[in-house]
Assembly symmetry: C2
Homo-oligomer: 184 residues x 2
């Protein structure tokens, strides 16, 4: 892994651990054992790093989407949920949730990329649900987009709330999301 990639990874972890405004270049420099100025060599400003962190997530989501292309909706749903599963394992929150709170303090470019990420996930899940309903494997009464929004907010919120109420609540929500789709 290049230093540049390591900085992005660390930035990502810090944002989803502590929040964008709580981490500093010092945190990264300390952890990667390089100097503050070296981070500025790779990323002129903190906002530039922030944008690249979001772009990295966009890339990973696109990769995940491709990796399950052509598979049945159930497999795609599992892939979608795996994003939140791994985040829960790390005891972090999702990027969209973390940055949505700090949204009024981040640069326009970062906000724009974040909206792009959020929309990409929403459009993907909407399509999965619509296909699943057509094929008779998923059942729901709302529009596919609204149902997608509800599942996304369930998972995003589950990561946040379960930090306070306990991990088992995350899994209770996760299981209920799947069950609801199969037996309505």
């Amino acid at each position: 892994m290049t230093t540049r990639e390591a900085i992005i990874l660390k930035g990502d972890h810090l944002i989803r651990d502590k929040g964008y405004n709580a981490f500093s270049f010092y945190d990264i420099s300390k952890s990667l054992k390089i100097k503050n100025a070296s981070i500025h060599y790779h990323f002129a400003t903190k906002a530039d790093l922030g944008v690249e962190v979001v772009n990295q997530h966009i890339f990973l989501v696109e990769q995940l989407i491709k990796s399950v292309e052509g598979r049945v909706p159930e497999v795609k749903l599992k892939a979608f949920l795996s994003i939140y599963d791994s985040t829960k394992q790390e005891e972090r929150v999702c990027l969209v949730g973390s940055l949505a709170t700090d949204l009024k303090t981040v640069e326009p470019k970062m906000k724009k990329q974040l909206a792009l990420l959020a929309n990409k996930i929403l459009v993907w899940l909407t399509q999965i649900l619509a296909d699943g309903k057509r094929e008779g494997v998923f059942m729901f009464r709302e529009t596919a987009r609204t149902k997608a929004l509800m599942i996304i907010t369930n998972m995003l919120g589950a990561l946040q709330v379960s930090r306070l109420t306990g991990s088992k609540d995350f899994f209770a929500i996760r299981e209920a999301v799947i069950r609801q789709l199969k037996e309505k």
Copy 2:
């Protein structure tokens, strides 16, 4: 309103606007036209102010619970949802959501009070749902607690995600939450 109350209110607004780590005593002093040191007279540390902001929310939720005591579950549900409606109107996010992201940077006492607030809301909504189901006005297959978690994460997440995807998504989620309870 006393200066102390004004500081708490401003702190609350700033936390739910920008996040805990993005606001400073300077923001408050500027806005209330008092000096930094005057805020420290009322609250020894930033964490002390944070705790009081959370306590204020606990107080308001307790007041809201009392105000609909003895009413039918539908009225109580409306009261619950009104918390998020007014937050949406202010274009802010809810306190639990905002502080859950910053959780690893806040003092233990603040975390403790926040967990208390989250639990109070969860227990209240769980009871509303259980009562509503028993009386035949609400329908759902999950346990009352899981259903409550799902609705809370829907509303908390709706406030955050709709900052990126558009306000109409907040209302789509809100309406779907109500509809789901009435027709399953």
